[in-house]
Symmetry: C2
Subunit: 227 residues, 2 copies
């Protein structure tokens, strides 16, 4: 039975990575729909979310099945229960890609406030964090997981920077307020995507080392504290 479980665990990892890639692509497309002002693409992201939800349920069910039938021991048991938590974070990143697309649809209806430069950079960093956090998980690599935590600071810094810049727009021209606020929302969504990746990375460190390193996101990098 041990062998069967190994194969099943490796299938589980594969599915998690696949779901991660799908969600990463959703984030990338949501930002592309904003930068290219492409409403069709934004709608595609929104429509594809049910696929992400379906993947979450399937992975959850597979985890339950493994727990019920294989009665995995310590290490595998923790791996499977961690997978069940991680899949929730991945799914919520998918929801945030939908949120980005919805703000994109709204912003695309109005004149461009300013070219998007930092937002795509932030999205790229957040996507990379998700990818690395999942790689760290399937390879039980605590070192890689810790690297993800460091990257979160960069994303938080970009979020603050975007916020400060948009604040000057708002103060100078009240007509820009509603657009500027939508962009700060997108920036916040990306920060939350990075936070989910950070949560995953923390779970990996706990899984591998049994040590709790709680992300200090309450102490750092809150854009409102710069407002």
């Amino acid at each position: 039975m041990g062998k069967i479980l190994d194969k099943e665990l490796s299938d589980l990892k594969e599915r998690l990575l696949t779901m991660g890639s799908v969600v990463e692509a959703q984030v990338a497309r949501s930002i592309k729909s904003l930068v290219d002002r492409d409403n069709d693409l934004a709608r595609k992201v929104i429509d594809a979310d049910h696929e992400v939800n379906r993947m979450e349920v399937e992975i959850d069910e597979e985890c339950i099945r493994l727990l019920a039938l294989r009665q995995p021991e310590a290490g595998d048991l923790r791996f499977i229960t961690t997978a069940m938590k991680i899949v929730t974070d991945i799914e919520r990143i998918g929801d945030l890609a939908v949120d980005v697309s919805e703000r994109a649809l709204e912003l695309n209806e109005e004149p461009i406030l300013k070219p998007y430069i930092d937002v795509p950079r932030m999205a790229k960093a957040a996507r990379n964090m998700l990818k690395e956090a999942l790689d760290a998980f399937v390879n039980r690599n605590a070192e890689l997981a810790r690297a993800v935590l460091d990257e979160d600071d960069f994303v938080d810094e970009l979020n603050k920077q975007i916020f400060r810049e948009l604040l000057t727009f708002m103060i100078e021209d009240p007509h820009s307020i509603s657009r500027a606020i939508r962009i700060t929302y997108i920036s916040k969504y990306l920060e939350r995507i990075a936070d989910h990746a950070t949560n995953i990375a923390e779970m990996v460190v706990y899984l591998v080392e049994g040590r709790i390193i709680r992300h200090m996101d309450n102490q750092q990098a809150n854009p409102a504290s710069q407002g």
Copy 2:
């Protein structure tokens, strides 16, 4: 062994409810620190967060222990894995109470922009949703869980209303922008608390009925779409 598991499951429920009450109180105190401009209270909320984190870890460990030693069957197995997911949502509500307190500390340094009326109402509704969602979980009550989903609309509506009102302040007086934005952030935090309660309620419906009702928070009630 069945009896031992019953006792252990009922202890687990008790611990989840306790953690829920602690977090509910954290939310209440964070809003009180805002309304009463009480910095000491805000700092107390921030300091108490480690206690919430500790409770999460303990409940997680207890769940792992039950899975490993008791090899629970179908219903109990699902109950325990759901508890492990729910505890993450409760912990993140705790983080949001800290976020509220931090914005309160900042707002308390400046003159009051306007009396807080809708924010406390929203907080009360969100706390109530958390309480009901957890009650629904420990009692496997799908009907109560569905009621929580309905309440989410009310919270989303208040969030939109707060946003619209603050937007008029910002447009009329640029000096109000940074304070107004902080208040919209608090309103957003409360909306996210309600979303976490909604996530818990959805998991309860799935646990009890095996039916997926995914919260449509992407279609509804995004304040930016009103901006």
